[in-house]
């Protein structure tokens, strides 16, 4: 069993819809959680990162962590065609997370249909 599981999709939704992307994990020591967006033929771009449980909002994006369920989510409101990309979750157990290796999900491919 992988430490981090992420549905690879593909996920297709109409423009303007709310998108929910999710990861589950097995290591209860994980406490820092990141979401990256990767466009085709580009490197991953950091969207958001959160610590422990709770929500964090940045514009149309909301990251949610439920440590009791070992489940994290990224919500995209008012989705746009420019949101079409692969979304990767990543996590680590270290409070000094810049210095530590990350464990990544395999990514969910999202397409927003105009």
């Amino acid at each position: 069993q992988k430490e981090v599981e992420q549905d690879p999709g593909p996920l297709s939704v109409p423009e303007g819809a709310i998108v929910s992307l999710n990861c589950t994990y097995s290591n209860s020591a994980f406490q820092y959680f990141m979401w990256y967006r990767q466009y085709s033929r580009k490197g991953p771009e950091l969207l958001m990162y959160t610590y422990s449980s709770g929500n964090k909002e940045d514009g149309r994006f909301t990251a949610q962590v439920d440590k009791s369920s070992k489940y994290i989510s990224l919500f995209i409101r008012d989705s746009q065609p420019s949101d079409s990309a692969t979304y990767l979750c990543a996590m680590t157990s270290s409070s000094n997370f810049g210095n530590e290796k990350l464990t990544f999900g395999t990514g969910t491919r999202l397409t927003i249909i105009p």
Partner: protein
């Protein structure tokens, strides 16, 4: 903004060649990382470095080596390229309490 630059976007090499992939970051980050990304397998860590001349093995170091002679530059070396090393290679850098920032990758094909 952090900028991580990988020297080549696309590279084609032959089996048995020694291959160098270069990565430069401009934010004075201590930490640098090399990953490979394959469909269905996600990102897998090859090597990382916390400081100049320091290196640590990641999850899949076999067949690779690295060099970090200067803080801003981290090189990945394929000692004798094989077809199973055909992949997308991604470099990242970070500093304490800041997540990793990635370059745009090098798509390497070994024929």
């Amino acid at each position: 903004d952090v900028k991580v630059t990988q020297s080549s976007r696309y590279l084609v090499k032959r089996t048995g060649e020694k291959v160098f992939l270069e990565c430069v970051q401009d934010m004075d980050h201590e930490n640098m990382f090399w990953y490979r990304q394959d469909p269905g397998l996600g990102l897998r860590l090859i090597y990382f470095s916390y400081d100049v001349k320091m290196k640590e093995k990641g999850d899949i170091p076999e067949g690779y080596s690295v060099s970090r002679e200067k803080k801003e530059r981290f090189s990945l070396i394929l000692e004798s390229a094989s077809t199973n090393q055909t992949s997308m290679y991604l470099c990242a850098s970070s500093t304490q309490n800041q997540p990793q920032h990635f370059g745009d990758g090098t798509r390497l094909s070994i024929l």
